[in-house]
Symmetry: C2
Subunit: 456 residues, 2 copies
């Protein structure tokens, strides 16, 4: 027991009924949107300020109690699970839009604010926050896992869109990193160090985010290809032509068949690209024309263009629901979602080898991904009761990661390490893991912050 | 003496005549392009590989000898000066373009390669590396100081354009950070930690850089404004309109007068913007039209548009020679160049207050800067023999930094900390300096890497 009666008394005195050990609260913080076994924390705290979070952390430091941050609970590698027990700090009540600077296109927000809530708030100001992992994740969680999504090819990942942070350290000290200037050359880049650290170095209590102007014009298209290589070559040539794609997503023929069956998508059973352009009316029109020429030269057909909001939403609904359509296509199935990311020039072979590997495995595993980033997901659907299917999927997932490394890529483009990828950190980073470990020990010598995660 | 006879013997055995204590070599590595007093190292080494650099570092670690990396010697805050003695490691012979991947638009290079040499190499491939500090700096030095320049508003700083590194650690171990995938969510972001660390955490021996496609069309313009506020409001509105400026530079009326006198620039003695657009022919034409409308609404006149290479070069020559024109305008003068960077919405007041402060000081100090980033330089020209001018300039520089912090900015947008700004690190970063110090002690416990710099 890490939340001792003494610590519980301290936290109750600090937080009142915002500190709880109620069983329903523990169950609400035990799971994730992935295949890991539930792991409840011993207690849950709901701070409402940086100062309160600092006091919580200082108390846990005195009592040597592990602390895991909780945002929206949507992480895919068990990042928010309290695998060593201790306290879950849920930032749900620190979800304010604290400040928006329209002239500078930045915003200061609480870590518990979700990306959709931020965009709802911004809509009237002609601004938006572009990073969009599938789930309606919290911005603190997205920063902590270095999340990205369909718009990364144009707008970058969380690493590119977090300008500064307020962070509570392992002993309760508070620091500020980065700032509102668009660049700085002073000192170590602590903002990028905490972004992606999965809560193992500190607790984010405020984020300063970069915003972007809503484009004058948006056009979306879907088109079919004879081959997956045609898709990838189209992407490479489009990037090289300097056309700023806002989104370019790949779905394979297996995915197309499933979304047809489950969602009435009406696609050919072939590889597809979904692409989107943002800009002025004239620029988007030119981008559409150039992209169409490039894609047709690589075997594209059956273009379906949409510029009205409802038509665009219809196309993107296919993509956004694909994961759930896949799961629903096999009732009772759970999924292991792989996350390889390779240099784009190696993407065609990475996907082709993965498809051959899947075929040989006997599993059904649709592939889709953020092809503009070289990032693809295989959704390995398994019967959770079948030990053999679990073993086959684990082998496939391992080979997909190995293949990504062999091709000069990474084992995770956007889902992170958490528990699921910790065993492969040395394979990807080699001796650099020792440097990460040295930093962890320097900033959290008692190993209180999200212990058991990220750094082996 | 830190390079003991024993260490010298070890290094001579390792490097032959690429290890030297010749006086001319020491003098060649004692200075910088700024106002700091010359500080020669005790010896100079010229490694030719990562392995050799690791062996040099291991020897210096055994003998407890400080090591300072040297690129092109163009840093502005004395980053490359051996202020604690020891060995200067000059990467001049590690200047290869090791690999270019055109399909992925990345390149692997040695740290001693200069940005101009890389761009000469890339020209035939339709690619370029955009980051352009004024000097023809080495890419290792640019990464180490987190350099930026006129194209940052579109293409980012070194932090945005370094994908991965090979780094020799303080004890001679070698690590690789980042990689060729366009994104990764695995582990601490060591690439961004070493970028901007000014050689205090490790020696970069290879860099993987992000390249960009040469645009189909480039158009440059200069225009005059009645007020500096007009310049800044033009920039804000252009950014918000989603127009992707490739460059947008500000020169004040004092600068205009000097470049007229020294360089025959033929400008009105008023604030000016120099702007550049990159894109397709149609996109650039549209950007020109929209920008012109916005600028005229804020009082711009006397537009001079150029799209032919020689005409563009004529306009940019004015900007690129401005620093030297200023220095030449007062024979014998030296310059302290300030580097404040603020949120763009605060730039007009930051510049106006600085101009008033300069007027009251009696110094001549032209102001120019990267207005799209909120970054501006005051060139404080002083007679180096005049103690009173030095004191007045030091006071001005300090107030410019204080003002930047008060406006939510940073004391250095792009020149870095080195020796010159180390005394203000706590004012900018507060308790976060303790975290930087903890990281420094974890990675370089003997304080061998560029001691005396960056982190107080």
């Amino acid at each position: 027991m890490r939340v001792t009666p003494e610590l519980a008394a301290d936290l109750a005195a600090l937080l009142g009924d915002r500190f709880t050990t109620a069983p329903a609260e523990l169950v609400a913080h035990e799971g994730s949107e992935s295949h890991f076994d539930p792991t409840p924390p011993e207690a849950v705290a709901y701070p409402i300020s940086t100062e309160e979070t600092a006091a919580i952390m200082a108390a846990c430091h005195r009592h040597r109690c592990p602390v895991v941050a909780w945002g929206a609970g949507t992480s895919l590698e068990a990042q928010a699970l309290a695998v060593k027990g201790g306290l879950c700090v849920d930032f749900a009540r620190m979800n304010a839009v604290i400040e928006v600077n329209a002239a500078d296109m930045d915003a200061r927000v609480g870590p518990g604010l979700t990306r959709e809530a931020l965009n709802d708030y911004l809509r009237d100001q002609g601004l938006f926050f572009p990073v969009d992992p599938g789930a309606n994740a919290s911005l603190g969680g997205m920063a902590s896992t270095r999340a990205s999504g369909t718009t990364t090819v144009r707008y970058g990942t969380m690493a590119d869109n977090v300008l500064g942070l307020t962070v509570v350290l392992a002993d309760g000290r508070v620091i500020r990193t980065g700032g509102r200037a668009r660049k700085s050359a002073t000192g170590y880049d602590l903002t990028h160090l905490f972004v992606g650290a999965e809560g193992t170095l500190g607790l984010m209590t405020e984020l300063t985010l970069r915003l972007h102007g809503l484009p004058q014009s948006i056009a979306t298209a879907v088109c079919a290809f004879d081959t997956m290589t045609g898709c990838v070559d189209t992407v490479i040539e489009t990037v090289q032509s300097g056309i700023p794609m806002a989104r370019i997503e790949f779905v394979d023929a297996v995915t197309a068949a499933i979304v047809n069956r489950m969602d009435g998508a009406g696609l050919t059973e072939a590889p597809h690209l979904l692409v989107e352009f943002h800009g002025s009316d004239a620029a988007v029109a030119e981008d559409i024309a150039t992209f169409g020429d490039i894609a047709r030269a690589h075997g594209a057909s059956q273009f379906d263009w949409a510029s009205r909001t409802e038509d665009r939403n219809r196309l993107w609904r296919i993509r956004h629901r694909a994961y759930w359509s896949c799961l629903a296509s096999r009732p009772g199935a759970r999924a292991i979602v792989t996350d390889a990311c390779v240099p784009i020039s190696r993407l065609a072979e990475a996907v082709a080898e993965t498809q051959a590997d899947i075929s040989a495995s006997g599993l059904v595993a649709p592939i889709l991904g953020h092809v503009g980033d070289g990032n693809f997901h295989a959704i390995l659907m398994i019967d959770p009761a079948s030990a053999s299917e679990r073993a086959v999927a684990a082998g496939l997932a391992k080979r997909i990661s190995d293949r990504a490394l062999a091709l000069g890529g990474t084992i995770s483009g956007e889902h992170g390490v958490g528990l699921g990828k910790i065993g492969m950190m040395r394979a990807e980073h080699g001796e650099a893991v020792a440097v990460m470990r040295a930093i962890k020990e320097a900033l959290d010598p008692l190993d209180l912050l999200n212990p058991g995660k990220t750094i082996p």
